[in-house]
């Protein structure tokens, strides 16, 4: 159960990586930090909104507020940092991404303080015992919300016009442009969606592990990226499966080996995937065009 809920969080972050990679072929290093900003927005919102009694309405508002704020942040990052260098070399795009990531981390340390903060509990918590397994209501919320968001994303990408345009841009940006799709708009929407999902993950992690700090995005971002690569980068169901696999293997390592190596397992998986199946579980081998 722990693995499943941790895995859902990785999956939510991995979706943002994979979507941005799909349309821009860019590893968005700042994505993990957007997730961190999401957690902090949730923290401040819930301190504002929370009454004496934890209520579901407040939890919902906090979640939506954080998602909205981060969607905006994602669009701003795309507009002012990535768009001006999109036509330049891939290396400049990568350096810009690193710059944005550093900027967010340091700005967060100045704004929010470098010490970890403790997330207030939002929803009333109850534990269930199901067949000898203890399930907390937080874990259920995390899994439930993640599944809901993923289904919504799936619907959006497969059934709406914008989703179709997004798939077209990811397939071939120039051809999509020739077909009259505003690629700039689609890329901005992709960033907004990915960032909103990361923000949701940030609020969810705040509910489950209530300690947040300005540098939390690095390690989570890294693992989520591994999840995206494991599932096949650019592949949306792949990101979900990859996230769940990483979350579960991490919990297993902590359970059976030692918590020292909890961060090393994702790294070991990444090396193995790159050696054995670099296109990921669901990825297709891409032909190179000159």
């Amino acid at each position: 159960m722990n693995g499943l809920s941790l895995g859902s969080i990785y999956a939510l972050i991995a979706l943002g990586y994979t979507m941005v990679y799909g349309v821009l072929r860019l590893i968005n290093f700042a994505h993990g930090d957007v997730y961190m900003v999401g957690a902090y927005t949730g923290y401040y919102l819930s301190r504002k909104l929370k009454g004496d009694e934890p209520s579901l309405l407040a939890a919902l508002l906090v979640m939506l507020g954080a998602m909205l704020a981060c969607a905006l942040l994602g669009v701003i990052i795309e507009r002012f940092a990535y768009r001006p260098v999109r036509r330049a070399s891939r290396l400049s795009l990568l350096i810009t991404a690193i710059g944005v990531s550093l900027f967010l981390e340091n700005a967060a340390q100045l704004l929010f303080g470098a010490d970890p903060k403790f997330f207030p509990s939002l929803a009333p918590r109850t534990d269930f015992i199901l067949g000898g397994v203890r399930i907390t209501s937080e874990q259920l919320t995390v899994i439930g919300v993640s599944v809901l968001l993923m289904l919504a994303l799936r619907f959006f990408i497969l059934k709406t016009r914008t989703g179709k345009a997004m798939r077209a841009v990811s397939f071939n940006q120039d051809a999509a442009k020739l077909m009259g799709i505003s690629t700039d708009r689609i890329i901005a929407i992709t960033f907004a969606l990915g960032s909103a999902l990361a923000a949701a993950a940030g609020v969810l992690i705040g509910m489950q592990i209530p300690k947040i700090d300005p540098l939390m995005g690095i390690l989570y971002g890294l693992k989520a990226f591994v999840a995206a690569v494991l599932g096949g980068i650019g592949n949306i169901p792949g990101a979900v499966v990859g996230g769940l696999l990483i979350g579960n293997s991490e919990v297993m390592v902590v359970g059976y080996l030692s918590s020292t190596y909890r961060d090393a397992i994702a790294f070991a998986i990444l090396i193995l995937v790159l050696l054995l199946r670099p296109q990921g579980i669901f990825g297709r081998v891409q032909k190179e065009k000159v």
């Binding site: 940092a81 260098v85 400049s92 350096i95 810009t96 690193i98 700005a107 100045l110 994702a266 790159l274």
Partner: protein
Amino acid sequence: MKGFLLAAALVAVLLLLNGLFTGSLISGVSISPYYLQILSLAGINIILAVSLNLINGFTGQFSIGHAGFMAIGAYGAAYVTATFGERIRSALPALPEVALDSLILLLALAVGALMAAGAGFLVGVPSLRLRGDYLAIVTLGFGEIIRVFILNIDAVGGARGFSGIPKLASFFWIYVFAAATIAVVYRIVHSSFGRTLIAIREDEIAAEAMGVNTTRSKVISFVVSSAMAGVAGGLFGHYLMYLHTNSFTFIKSFEIIIMIVIGGLGSITGSVLGAVLFIGLTEGLREFAQYRMLVFSLLLIVLMIVRPQGILGHREFGGLFQRFRRRRLDTPAPPPVIQA
């Protein structure tokens, strides 16, 4: 012969400067220990920046875990000195103190460099077989993981840090290795192997079509670069006499990237300039230390938008004048490079 004389002259000058700075040459003449330390750390940063530029600037493969390799070299070298230093001393009692110190330092640095090179090989092979930015994410992960591992090795102090390293490195040694790094990278880049690296940077598919074994070239370049980072780490430990994993976080890696991006990816003199500028700015703006990284990260973003090639771009500092003169004398200016 000319190169040998040049090297001998350089060593003599460095010895002289070392004597002047530390006050051992003329009594009463020295610079403050604070400036000496800054100068020495600048030298270490020059080694780091120039070596990172070999893989990031000349080969075009983005590594963001240089501090991880530096940590391996630092801990490896310090472990050698702490464990075998005394034994070597008692085995060779006939040698003078200076010779023993140098011998132990060189041995330790060699071990540190080899260990860092080995780690570079292990990290490089899986990620450099593929095209794309995998090296970036793998090295970022590696840099964070290696710290956790070192933190859990009790033989090198673990969370307490590694103390009691003898001070074997000095201004002199640091700059000898900085000069050696610059010379080695310069020779590599201007060799036929160096041209394969630049070909890979410009267009990997075209390079492969021309018969370049791209994976092999990339891995060699990465391993050499890692080994040099290991040397820098070894010098760092033997200069400060204390090591802690907090010195080797991803922030250190990003600092080195900022140095080479500011100076110009693909320019050796640019890296040196970037390293010196970075140290100068960091020390000069000490009161604003908390805004430092914020400013540097903004600088990185703005630089990519307005001047992605950095201060010097691919050019070298001394070459600026030469190229200008040559262009004026005979050939018309080469056509601008058209980016596909």
